[in-house]
Symmetry: C2
Subunit: 156 residues, 2 copies
DNA sequence: TTGCTCCTCACGTCACGTGAGGTGGC
DNA sequence: TTGCTCCTCACGTCACGTGAGGTGGC
């Protein structure tokens, strides 16, 4: 069963990036298309799209730069190579080391996410407080509030 | 009671940015120091520091670019002007419009934060799933886990 | 053949980083 | 006077944006 491959424009649109971004990531060695057409245009497989989404999550959600993302992907790639590799060239010690590295990266990412969640929740609280300040200001001056906005009637 | 003013280096360190960043924000009209020394070096007040922290939150946590931040700050500034202004030049209609704009910005920011929180929580779940995959891989191959990491013994 | 997407340069932009060379206050 | 921080250019960098000019497949 042969997989349907996407052209660069389709791949870019599916992930919400530009074609320039895809060519740039390829230039940096972060993401190469699985194949090419006879004429030389890029063809992206489902695994490529998933890798791209992973890169964008690390960048947009976690705020890593492309150099840090390269390191993270490299470790994950090495583990994946190990998983699919059945030759006996990999020692137990080497397997242990690779797995340790992946656990370490995973832990760091989880810590990173936890910190970000804390900051975001703090900012959400600050925004709610700011909205109440506006409501108080309107009430003090008797300014009409936009429709659908609750009167600050009973608050501790 | 006169407020203690910070030099650019102190202000930058307190907010985790470079002095270059502070000069750049001033160049863009986002943040000007409240005062200057006789020799011409910048002096930042507490209100300036808070504004800087606000800018950094909008940028780093919410992901806005400096142009969007300029618009957000401008609306907030106009409301603040209105609050501290006692001349009667401001009509009720004008007050209403400014307040409406601030509520709209606040709502958009809250929506933005809620979306970000959702994405982050999804990514957190994905990371936990990935860690479990590593643990399974280790268990299958009988690879020793790093100390302190739980054996995937009883899982549904 | 006509559109459409693709290709490779290559210069532009945003948000700063990083010296170069000089001045100012404890 | 010696450090330290400050100042203003001004070029460099990262992650792309944006044409310029040309090729390829339904």
């Amino acid at each position: 069963m042969t997989e349907s491959l996407l052209r660069i424009g389709e791949a870019a649109e599916r992930c919400g990036v530009s074609t320039r971004t895809l060519r740039y990531y390829e230039e940096l060695g972060l993401l190469a298309p699985s194949g090419h057409s006879p004429g030389g245009s890029r063809r992206y497989a489902t695994a490529d799209i998933e890798r791209l989404q992973h890169i964008r999550e690390l960048r947009d959600v976690l705020g890593f730069d492309l150099d840090q993302i390269r390191d993270i992907l490299a470790a994950e790639d090495r583990l994946e190579e190990m998983r699919t590799e059945y030759r006996k060239g990999v020692s137990a010690k080497r397997q242990e080391d690779l797995l340790d590295e992946c656990f370490a990266i995973n832990d760091r990412l989880q810590q990173h996410v936890a910190t970000k969640l804390g900051v975001l929740e703090g900012f959400a609280a600050e925004l709610r407080a700011r909205a109440r300040k506006y409501e108080d200001f309107a009430a003090e001056r008797g300014i009409r509030l936009p429709p659908g906005r609750p009167r600050p009637a009973s608050r501790p």
